[in-house]
Symmetry: none
Subunit: 225 residues, 2 copies
DNA sequence: CAGCCGCGTCAAAAACGCGTGAAGAAACCC
DNA sequence: GGGTTTCTTCACGCGTTTTTGACGCGGCTG
């Protein structure tokens, strides 16, 4: 189920969107201002953000930048201002689409489908990988093969997904912490050590000498297919 | 350079877009109708399609479907019709964005940047250099080729990167120390001797007679491609 | 031809980062 | 509400990397 974060300070719009989106089987979170939007995004990891630019506490563009600093989640901007400069600023800050009020709900829904459709497959590299004797399917979040059943916790899934999404690429500890734990993390390398060890114990045939979940000392980690 | 295919049957719009896009250093192809648009897309493989819905020969949605049958190229739709149903149909057929006329060129350009930004990261090619039998990729920080695996430490990477960034240029010891070790360093030439020797041992075919990591006595070091 | 400077090399000390175990805190699920 | 899973936090040992010091060789210079 797609999680949507709706950021708007006008209760009636929030309410209307919530009803409409829930009817379409979206999972809806809401935030009334920029600060709580950034917080909610870090906490709930939405698959899509619908952002009203007229927020009480900060510039909409700042919210976009705050999100883009650590996540590539699709952002659709709602705005009462139809000016060209506003649109350009928001889009160049990292927004994926810009809709001016008043707008039709049908159109918003269609644009939501469009940006999520585009964002999904960008995470390339088929949704299944193999590590040692195990086959990992990200679409169903299941691990098959191996001697006995393997279950991964949410954090473990997220970390493994980020690694597997960029096969062969070196990902810095900071980068991984930002993406998996959230924007306020970046130096807690002990978390990474902990969870990499767990993934290796669960997936690698010889956890002491990993062949797929590799450490690049002082630099980061790498997934080798 | 980004290749754009502009599909429109109104010559003045095509002309205006062509001029504007060329000024922004886009490579522009044009097609006046749906059939030739599909043909041009197959032939020229554009990175982006700007598609007017009011074509003489076929429905705009059909053009989108025809493209989506075999390519994921970003599609931005231009249309005179502002109706919600039209937008939904186009977006659900596979379009990435929908702009209603009249539109500002700035907005179109911003939306073009937004959709290409999404589509880009799939096709990236990192900067690579070759030293002896080894191929060094800085984007993934990997060394391939050669007899056995080569691993570089962070300092080694940084030093090699600074050398490779200015191929053929002479870099003084002071300059390298400042860049790699930090502003408070500049006289510790023994560090450089140490690390240059290590890089040569790891990468050069004959470390005693380096062919790429060269010493310029009393002056500095040079990377020869 | 002798002296000097800079470079490559070796070796050892210091610092750093990683893996691991264990335990408390928090969240979650009946 | 109790029990279990999951997450966070801390500390220690070990291997690797970095730093540091010292030595010998070779070319340039006087």
């Amino acid at each position: 189920m797609t999680r949507v974060l709706v950021v708007d300070d006008e209760p009636q719009i929030v309410r209307a969107l919530r009803i409409n989106l829930k009817a379409r089987r979206y999972e809806v979170e809401t935030a009334p201002d920029g600060a709580s939007a950034l917080h909610a995004a870090a906490h709930h990891r939405p698959d899509l953000v619908v952002l009203d630019l007229g927020l009480p506490d900060m510039e909409g563009v700042e919210v976009i930048r705050g999100l883009r600093g650590w996540t590539g989640v699709p952002i659709i901007v709602l705005s009462g201002r139809a000016g060209s400069a506003d649109k350009v600023a928001a889009l160049d800050a990292g927004a994926d689409d810009y809709i001016t009020k008043p707008f039709g709900v049908d159109e918003l829904l269609a644009r939501m489908r469009a940006v999520t459709r585009r964002a999904q497959p960008g995470d390339e590299a088929g949704p299944v990988i193999t590590i040692g004797a195990h086959t990992v399917d990200f679409s169903t979040r299941t691990v098959t093969g191996g001697d006995h059943e393997v279950r991964l916790t949410p954090r473990e899934w997220e970390l493994l997904e980020h690694l597997a999404r960029h096969p062969g690429k070196l990902l810095s500890q900071y980068h991984l912490l930002q993406r998996v734990w959230g924007p306020q993390y970046g130096t807690e390398t002990n978390y990474l050590r902990q969870y990499m060890a767990r993934l290796r114990r669960k997936l690698e045939t010889d956890p002491a000498r990993p062949r797929h979940l590799l450490t690049e000392p002082a630099m980061g980690y790498r997934f080798a297919p």
